[in-house]
């Protein structure tokens, strides 16, 4: 995921796994988010993501509305989920270990 040279300039929500893993204890890219604008539900991994600088913007793969914004500052993670009206987050059943696989 290096400097753009041609074509589309977006990635997808898979690339948010790292930044989100800094603060969240469950895998959020497999969570399904409902778009506040068009009402469709999509896994975070399928969001159209623009970034990384100055922050990530995640758009709905159906209607392109902004679903989330994520900005990492030296001492904080800013997360704006205001485009998502509901999130369904899968919770692993055997989540006792600190470093288990998702």
């Amino acid at each position: 995921m290096d400097a753009p040279i041609e074509g589309f300039a977006f990635y997808d929500g898979n690339s948010l796994a790292g930044p989100l893993s800094e603060v969240f204890g469950v895998e959020l890219t497999t969570a399904a988010g409902r778009c506040r604008s068009c009402g469709t539900t999509s896994e975070l991994a399928t969001f159209r993501v623009y970034g990384p600088a100055p922050g990530f913007v995640g758009r709905c793969p159906h209607c392109e509305d902004v679903l989330l914004r994520l900005v990492r500052t030296p001492d904080a993670l800013w997360l704006d989920f205001s485009g998502v009206s509901a999130l369904r987050i899968l919770i692993p059943s055997d989540s006792a270990d600190e470093e288990q696989q998702p």
Binding site: A3, I5, G7, A17, G25, V26, Q101
Partner: protein, 253 residues
């Protein structure tokens, strides 16, 4: 109190770890595989990635995501880096890094674009350029662990751009149930019957699975490639829910 109140603890939280380069192996003129030792590596699934972070002497940091290229192997992980113009991370990893150098990695990351040997049903893999890397991790993970049939369509510009060329062709004959088709966009080798060009619906019909087989489809490559292939698959009648995509942007990782 706050931490203990979180059910199950902070299970996928990832911090940066030191990763020492064990070896580098050229794959093509512009792609190299780098193996790292990461003490205490927790293991990973095929399709997962890591973030790699470099820190300059003046403190400037740059991070990029790279798919893991091989199955879990103790504290050893491997990535394959395609050099891209002006890529500040890829050019360091592809050209300047030396055995023994240390970078930072965070991972394993991602849980959506993954394949597990216990997953059932046929698998269609469609790669554009260095998008073959996470798909190769799936092919390597399958070997000896799953009888699930795989079909790989691998779009490359020329025969010289085939990453994992030798291993893919060996596995296509030795790994039962693995079929590999190279789709050349610019120059094809002698004897190639398919016309040179970008991937088409006809390619997906000829070298992929019929819709009735209900394959799980993994598509990885540059964004425009992934958009096109997923549209073609949906157009052929494949269920959108069975199509997993990973876009690495306009150029390459």
């Amino acid at each position: 109190m706050a931490r203990a109140a979180i059910p199950g603890g902070l299970t996928v939280r990832r911090s940066w770890r030191q990763a020492q380069i064990l070896e580098r192996r050229p794959e093509t003129a512009s792609a190299s595989t780098l193996a790292f030792e990461v003490t205490g590596w927790p293991g990973h699934l095929a399709g997962q990635h890591v973030d790699v972070r470099l820190t300059a002497p003046d403190g400037y940091q740059a991070a990029r995501s790279y798919s893991l290229a091989a199955p879990t192997d103790g504290d050893r992980i491997a990535i394959t880096v395609q050099r891209v113009p002006d890529g500040e991370v890829s050019s360091y990893l592809a050209d300047e890094a030396r055995d023994g150098d240390t970078v930072e990695v965070r991972g394993p990351l991602g849980g959506w674009f993954v394949w597990k040997p216990e997953d059932s049903g046929p698998v269609l893999l469609v790669a554009g350029g260095s998008g073959v890397v996470p798909l190769m991790a799936m092919i390597r993970s399958r070997d000896g662990a799953s009888p699930t049939p795989f079909r790989l369509l691998y779009s490359v510009r020329t025969p010289q751009d085939r990453i994992y060329d030798h291993e893919l062709r060996r596995r296509a004959t030795e790994d039962g149930g693995l079929e590999v088709a190279f789709l050349y966009t610019r120059t094809a080798p002698d004897g190639e019957t398919r016309s040179v060009g970008r991937i088409t619906a006809e390619d997906l019909i000829a070298y992929g699975w019929p819709v009735d087989a209900e394959p799980t489809c993994y598509v990885c490559g540059p964004t425009a490639f992934v958009e096109k292939v997923s549209d073609l698959l949906v157009g052929l009648g494949h269920d959108q829910a069975m199509i997993r995509t990973e876009r690495f942007g306009p150029s390459g990782p």
